[in-house]
Symmetry: C2
Subunit: 328 residues, 2 copies
């Protein structure tokens, strides 16, 4: 294992300190592993997301104007405890309530729910939405029901833009839920990943093999297969996504996401193949993002996310945002 790090015990705090120093609009709360926006005094709904670390730039990289008000980090691949999340809620609270955007993992569901209860006891109005965009498997090692993966970033964007407009908590929750209903993702991995405190890979993916539908913590996918071409990967992932939700003849946002160790060159090649397939199916891409948005440590591979748009969702996607990982 070759990682740029010091003591693996401190990797999350050193990472968040090294991230938050990049931008004077960010505050790092070390005792809670929370990164929040410097308060502007504007009364608006606060948006909070978070989860285990190892998915950078998620989620601290999305704290900023038109996106998250606070991100709560757990240890690597481990859900943050409720006291950390409570701190995130408090930092995001601007007097208009707080929306939690939770990826569907059992630990996150439990801890975010507990934090919601604690915050409500302190008089903060809190609502939550759960992202379950990964169509690969119905249940998994860490989730009841589908997992939440890269499509979560679109939920950040839509909810964050709605909150920035000054909409009510109910309205912000409504658009987040509409987005979740319209988003599907699936990924493929060419390698395992290595936890900072471990001396070797989590598991091994054999030479010349890939695993279709693997989760962002290395959870089981659908099948191990021979490594395919980019065109074949695009075909396999899109077929499963489009069998789950009817995207034909619709307008969409498309995200090609790298899992951390896959070079941009390869993601652009995949984007090219995905775009050609979508064109052949009369699906119009109005918004297209390619990059490392929701990673899995040093895993190689990618995911594809399709997000069906209407006028409201498209407008929210196009609104200004400013963060380390996303600037529009």
């Amino acid at each position: 294992m070759k990682k740029i790090m010091n003591d693996p015990k401190n990797i999350v705090s050193e990472m968040l300190e090294g991230l938050s120093i990049l931008n004077k609009d960010l505050l790092y709360h070390p005792e809670f592993e929370v990164v929040s926006r410097v308060k502007t005094g504007k009364k608006k709904v606060g948006i909070v997301s978070g989860g285990g670390s190892g998915h950078e730039p998620a989620h601290a990289g999305y704290v900023g104007l038109g996106l998250l008000d606070a991100a709560v980090a757990g240890n690597v691949f481990a859900s943050p405890d409720p006291m950390r999340i409570l701190k995130g809620i408090k930092e995001a609270d601007n007097g208009a309530g707080v929306l939690l955007v939770i990826k569907n993992y059992s630990g996150d569901i439990m801890n975010f729910d507990m934090a919601k209860d604690l915050a409500e006891l302190e008089g903060i109005k809190v609502e939550s939405v759960v992202v379950k965009d990964d169509v690969a498997v119905e249940d998994s090692e860490y989730s009841d029901g589908r997992r939440g993966i890269a499509g979560t970033i679109f939920v950040h964007k839509v909810a964050g833009a709605m909150a920035e407009r000054g909409a009510s908590l109910d309205e912000v929750k409504r658009v987040a839920q509409k987005a979740i209903k319209n988003i599907r993702s699936m990924g493929v991995s060419m390698s395992s990943c290595t936890l900072p405190a471990a001396s070797k890979e989590n598991f091994t993916l054999e030479v010349g093999k890939m695993e279709i539908g693997m989760g962002i913590h290395g959870e089981k996918g659908i099948v191990k297969d021979l490594l395919k071409t980019s065109k074949d990967i695009a075909t396999i992932l899109l077929e499963k996504i489009m069998n789950d939700l009817d995207y034909y003849d619709s307008e969409i946002a498309l995200m090609i996401n790298g899992l951390g160790a896959t070079p941009l060159m390869e993601l652009y090649v995949l984007n090219n193949d995905v775009r050609k397939i979508l064109l052949s199916k009369n699906i119009v891409v109005k918004n297209n993002m390619v990059g490392n948005f929701m990673t899995a440590l040093d895993m190689t591979g990618c995911s594809i996310t399709l997000f069906k748009l209407d006028t409201e969702l498209e407008d929210l996607l196009n609104e200004k945002c400013k963060s380390l990982a996303l600037n529009i």
Copy 2:
């Protein structure tokens, strides 16, 4: 080798097609592997950069407002031929002359110089600057003198902003040269990289070892050493950089660059260590970027770039720009 690709022979064109479709302000010229800005009709100096592919998002990811007007791609790790570069110059020409930003590799120097001559025969005024920011080695396998690496992005930014202001070709060249004088970089690699058409790594870096000062094509560095902590890597690279140029008591821009397969988590940890060392030396960081800006296919590792600022350079760095890889 596990890459997301189709036929390696077509990887550059498929990559550029998949990249340029992301943004309606970009034009892809497939017969030349050039990506250019859609012409706006504004008379301004054109900025052109380029070189071998495999360094994504460099250089096509930097085409846009306040940055490059055209990027010219060679095959993987191979300089683009003069006819491609000539096409880039023509696409970048808005009637006020064109500045070429060349990384110091022998093939690039030769081909960009030939293209400059060809363009001048067609009546386009062309100037060039050569970036040699890598302090690791004095000469290398592919360069006479120091290599040009990630610091090149700062030159794009400064020259692009000056051109966007409507400055003359002489003025744009002047600030590019001032930037080059003030920029130093150095990197460390934990792995080799694999060319798309090859079946195995370019060479092997042993388990538990890193190579200090390796080039972005895997060229030899200074020494192979045991893998160090992030703090030690920061210390080693900064010492060599700061021995070369006096940054003490100055204001700088700092770039922590990933080589393609190193997760953001690790780059943020390194940034944290670098910032602490700079603080201890009374060096004020006015601008700090962390990400994958100039990569080496799927190499793991990083580089550090320091850029000494004065008021003019800082203003140019902070000016608005819009591209796939950099938005300010």
